[in-house]
């Protein structure tokens, strides 16, 4: 696959760092891929863009939209990216100050409270549902479309609870407007948060290109994990990594201000883009049980497991 042009969809989040690293350090070029990034505001349009052929590869959470598109034969999950892992700072459960003062200090106390989600079938919805199931409580899901709106609603006490990646959760908690009352990892162990996916056509017909992409992506992930997750590299290397990521993430902030957010936001990206099939299966079952996607969809339709190691 020499000099194939590909378009990679991305969000300007630290969780997409593996692609940025692979691009900046030339891993994509070495693999013969001429990569162009296409940035999105949210995960959902990215899935649609893969289906429409506007993007070739992307990394994002499994959403109802992604599954529906897979059911229509448009997209395939081909690998795993971000995972929850015990011991590494993962997604946090937040409550508003008002709810906290009213006694919601544990996830169990969220019973009957308003839980913020962007859209039905988003990962926030899944997390809320899993927490509720584990605690035996019920939540009122409030769709707010954008993470910004969820943050606004949480800060002003118009919703009670939410879950979000640590680099957003921690600064919010520090400001005192919200409180962290738990970890998502406690409720959804080995949660496969984000996956690598592509169009069904790419997965079936462009094997070489897809493999090249995954290989370069994994190399980027390894660098990232070493520098910021496992912290096995020198401080200089970590610094260089943060600088590299800062080119894409928090670009509107000065480096000094952006650095802590980037460092805090570092969660493990699976080695070799390995995919946690049982987590994916659990997510799919949940979507089906909620009636968000058609019952007829199977794991085979959603996942092409032939590219990476699966567990």
């Amino acid at each position: 696959a020499a000099n194939s042009k590909i378009t990679v969809g991305a969000l300007a989040f630290t969780s997409h760092a593996a692609s940025f690293v692979a691009f900046e350090r030339g891993y994509f070029a070495e693999a013969g891929l001429d990569v162009e990034f296409k940035f999105f505001q949210a995960a959902q349009p990215m899935a649609v863009a893969i289906a429409s052929g506007d993007a070739d590869y992307a990394v994002t959470a499994i959403s109802g939209g992604l599954i529906s598109l897979a059911e229509k034969g448009a997209t395939k999950v081909i690998g795993g990216a971000l995972s929850e892992e015990k011991g590494i700072d993962g997604q946090k459960i937040l409550v508003s100050d008002a709810a906290f003062k009213a006694g919601v200090t544990t996830p169990k106390a969220l019973d009957g409270k308003a839980w913020g989600v962007t859209q039905a079938g988003s990962s926030f919805h899944y997390m809320g549902a899993k927490i509720a199931a584990a605690e035996g409580i019920s939540l009122k899901y409030t769709p707010l479309q954008k993470t910004g709106a969820v943050i606004g609603a949480l800060k002003s006490g118009q919703i009670d609870g939410w879950s979000i990646v640590p680099h957003i959760a921690k600064p919010l908690a520090k400001s005192g407007a919200v409180h962290i009352i738990g970890d998502v990892a406690d409720y959804i162990p080995n949660y496969q948060v984000t996956t690598v996916f592509t169009s069904a056509a790419n997965a079936a017909n462009e094997r070489a290109k897809t493999q090249a992409f995954l290989a370069a992506f994994s190399k980027g992930a390894d660098d990232f994990n070493a520098a910021l997750v496992d912290k096995t590299t020198s401080a200089d290397e970590a610094e260089a990594m943060v600088k590299l990521i800062h080119k894409y993430v928090y670009t509107d902030r000065e480096y000094e201000k952006a650095k802590p957010s980037i460092v805090n936001g570092a969660m493990r990206i699976n080695k070799g883009a390995a995919l946690n099939m049982s987590s994916v299966n659990d997510q799919l079952s949940w979507f089906k049980s909620e009636g968000l996607v058609k019952d007829s969809i199977s794991m085979d339709m959603l996942v092409d497991g032939s590219y990476v190691s699966t567990t």
């Binding site: 959902q44 899935a47 649609v48 289906a51 429409s52 959403s63 109802g64 939209g65 529906s68 598109l69 229509k72 034969g73 448009a74 859209q119 039905a120 079938g121 988003s122 009122k140 899901y141 409030t142 769709p143 707010l144 479309q145 910004g148 709106a149 606004g152 609603a153 002003s156 118009q158 919703i159 968000l292 996607v293």
Partner: protein
Amino acid sequence: MHDAPRPVPFRGGGFRPQRLRGVGVAVFVVLILLIEWGTRAGWISSLTLPRPSDVVATLVQLWKSGLFFQHVTPSLTRLAVGSAMGVLAGVAVGVMIGLFSLARAGLVPLVAALFPIPKIALLPLFVIWFGIDEGSKYALIALGTFTPTVVATFGAVDNVDRTLVRMGQSFGLRWWSIVRKIVLPGALPGILSGLRISLSIGIILLVAAEMLGAQYGIGAYILEAGSLYDLERLFAGVVILSSLGVLVSWLIAQLEKRLLIWRS
């Protein structure tokens, strides 16, 4: 060299649209059948359009499960309350602008500046101002219907025949009598045709209004379907909104027939 008498050739007619009943329905039917065929035969991919029969099935399902009313009722309430607020305020402000030079000079530029502001852009603010519940939804629809109503109303007041006003003055009618008995009834046709536009905008804004914190409502239903890329439900919702628009416009036509029998 007198020719034989011959009839005068006909050269009139045309340029007067005839009513052709049934063609409208036929176009819809043909279009739907075409899409049905295309989606079944496969030359319209399932990513592009849903199968019309599936959309109908979804609608039937929605109706049977009782969810139809669960979605339509809050939407109608929001539309009714929001546009009632917007239209009433709009008519009041429009009449003021029509009657008082000071109101006109002060408010017209403000309304003109307000008009091209996209309401979705203000959603985050509305949440802070009016909360995440019904308040912000009413406010959004009210704001969206307010500006077109103002523009239509003051245009209608301006268009009231000034000789009727002079007539009122020449008979020594009081200012308030002139406003009530001449200006307002005279502006009614313009206000009603403005209402048509305002309510259409209100319906369109339902989706924007239900972006924030609405679990039920046609807009919320459509948004959810969109985020799940569930085309059947998306189109079912669009069909409902579209029918709502046609219904509202029919209702206004009835209202016009009632209130404006005096028009020739």
